[in-house]
């Protein structure tokens, strides 16, 4: 009986009581008279990369405008963070941009470090760079596979995920978790790299460039791929800037802006790498940029791994007011036990002030705004996420193109709905 009543109430809730007048001013006047068609795409659609709903206004096959509707994955992460101490909030940040959790950890950790004025030792920074670049590879591999499958190339996914498993295996080696690693923490990283990590990553670095060549052999000169991608979803540089786009989507339009170069963090200024740029700002250029970013990441990783072998020392800050002591210290030092207890029960106080810190994630600038309370919990944490910005720019990217191009455009900006809705 209860089940039937529940089903009945769900049936009632599902009735839509809106009217088309709600959309007046947002879609063109032609839609009001039924001259153009309003079409729902999503939230369950195979190629919206998650639970994105697009309300498309179509003139025949041509997109007049589109109204993205998000929030189907709004998780309340920012609100939940206000309820936790700074250290314990970290695992929630993993789950925003679930294709590159390391970048979220880094963004949050950088912000907390800035708020506390906390230093990170050199070895910790090198390990962070390795993690971030591996995360970039893993994230771009998912993008490559899903983008290709959206455009009809099935086999790329199988190749891309084969390599991704190796990266995830390395993350598991570091942190014990394949995806949600919570490895980068305020003050450094959780633990030192295990002994078997270096041989594994070296083997990966030896193998991977040839695999990238394989992906390129499948796609770059493929006539079908070029037909679908070239000249589609063009964004002019000034439009991209006005809409706040960042990352490969901005660089595809030829704007040379990469936070790793412009506002370096974690020692990126000491690595030798290039920032690939596009010319036309179309889907194909954004594809080429990400492919080249694989190679640039390999460059950074090679340098970082070489440094990791020579630079020894602590991998997280020695400031015991903010960073928990090593487990080995607990048996010998009473002070370490006190710090350990304090940090894992109460946490630490942060100033009643605000900071904003941004890093370059695989998708673009991911910024973290923290306002402390003076106590152990933040007053407000806000993440500026690239997917949010890019989805808001979808209408300008897609208008005038065909319905089938929508899928290519969504794929090319590499949106993650968890990143967008938080």
């Amino acid at each position: 009986m209860a089940v039937a009543a529940q089903a009945q109430s769900i049936e009632e809730q599902r009735k839509w009581e809106g009217s088309i007048d709600q959309l007046r001013g947002l879609v063109s006047e032609r839609a009001m008279t039924g001259e153009t068609m309003l079409l729902n795409m999503g939230p369950h659609h195979p190629s919206t990369h998650g639970v994105l709903r697009l309300l498309l206004e179509l003139d025949g096959e041509e997109i007049v405008t589109c109204l993205p509707d998000i929030g189907f994955l709004h998780t309340g992460i920012e609100k939940s963070l206000e309820d936790k101490s700074y250290e314990k909030a970290l695992p929630l940040t993993d789950r925003m941009d679930y294709l590159s959790p390391m970048s979220n950890n880094m963004s949050y950790s950088c912000a907390v470090e800035k708020l506390l004025d906390l230093d990170v030792p050199e070895r910790g920074q090198i390990i962070r760079v390795i993690c971030l670049e591996l995360a970039r590879c893993a994230s771009h591999l998912v993008w490559l596979g899903t983008h290709a499958i959206d455009m009809g190339a099935m086999s790329v996914l199988l190749y891309a995920f084969r390599e991704r498993e190796r990266v995830l295996g390395m993350f598991e080696m570091l942190s014990g978790q394949r995806m949600m690693s919570s490895y980068i923490r305020p003050g450094g990283v959780w633990r030192d790299v295990p002994a078997e990590f270096l041989p594994t990553i070296k083997q990966f670095l030896d193998d991977f460039p040839a695999k990238v060549d394989d992906y390129e052999a499948l796609l770059t000169q493929n006539p079908i791929w070029k037909d679908r991608a070239q000249g589609v979803g063009v964004v002019e540089p000034d439009v991209a800037l006005a809409h706040g786009m960042t990352g490969p989507a901005l660089r595809g339009s030829g704007v040379n802006w990469d936070l790793r170069k412009a506002q370096p963090y974690s020692g990126y200024e000491t690595y030798d790498f290039n920032v690939p740029l596009g010319e036309h700002g179309d889907v194909y250029d954004r594809y080429l940029i990400r492919i080249q970013e694989f190679r640039e990441s390999m460059k950074i990783l090679n340098q970082a791994v070489a440094r990791l072998e020579t630079v020894k020392g602590p991998y997280r800050s020695e400031n015991r007011k903010y960073v928990p002591p090593l487990r080995s210290e607990l048996g010998q030092s009473m002070e370490a036990v006190i710090h350990h207890f304090k940090l894992w029960t109460y946490g630490y106080d942060a100033p009643d002030d605000e900071i904003y810190s941004a890093i370059e994630s695989p998708r673009g600038e991911i910024g973290c705004y923290i306002h402390g309370t003076g106590a152990n919990k933040p007053r407000r944490v806000h993440f500026k996420t690239p997917s949010f910005i890019h989805i808001s720019a979808l209408p300008v990217m897609s208008s005038g193109y065909l319905l089938a191009d929508m899928v290519a455009i969504i794929g090319s900006v590499d949106i993650v709905l968890g990143d967008c809705d938080r």
Partner: protein
């Protein structure tokens, strides 16, 4: 002279209707191509080369619920998404099964807050719950095999 003469004597297999039907149902249980959050990425990993769900007759994901047998709720379910998932479930044809993949789908997981449905069993019946945040592909495979066991134990009397 059809195929039998070329293959030789195929013989006769006797079985019960239950076993034959359940064998067919478990051998080709088509999942709905549907992902919510992080677990969907692990679900994709299970589909891909390393774990290869097609070993269990599940390589074919149907994008429409009308043709799917299995709904894998992979990820956190928000209050805004809940009516959509219920509608997808209602549109699936009987017999249908549901796997709740991951902590968030099973019980809300780490998100105990206003936005998340605290377990998909608030809106749809679930056959198998898989723990993990996110579960490894092996865990998903184990969950699917557990569901197969459950389906194989179904009786004619329950089908009605």
């Amino acid at each position: 002279m059809g195929v039998s003469s070329k293959l030789g004597n195929l013989g006769v297999v006797t079985t019960t209707v239950e076993q034959a039907v359940n064998w067919a149902r478990t051998g080709a249980m088509w999942p709905l191509l549907f992902g919510l959050a992080c677990c969907a990425i692990e679900y994709m990993s299970s589909q891909a080369s390393s774990y290869d769900l097609s070993r269990f007759g599940m390589e074919l994901n149907r994008a429409t619920p009308r043709q799917a047998d299995l709904l894998i709720v992979s990820g956190r379910l928000t209050r805004k998404m809940a009516p959509v998932v219920r509608q997808l479930y209602d549109q699936m044809a009987e017999p249908k099964w549901v796997i709740s993949m991951g902590d968030c789908a099973s019980c809300g997981g780490v998100y105990n807050n206003y936005a998340i449905v605290q377990g998909v069993d608030e809106i749809i019946p679930v056959d198998v719950y898989i723990a993990g945040c996110p579960p490894r592909p092996e865990q998903l495979l184990h969950g699917i095999l557990t569901l197969h066991e459950k389906v194989k134990s179904e009786r004619v009397a329950d089908w009605a």
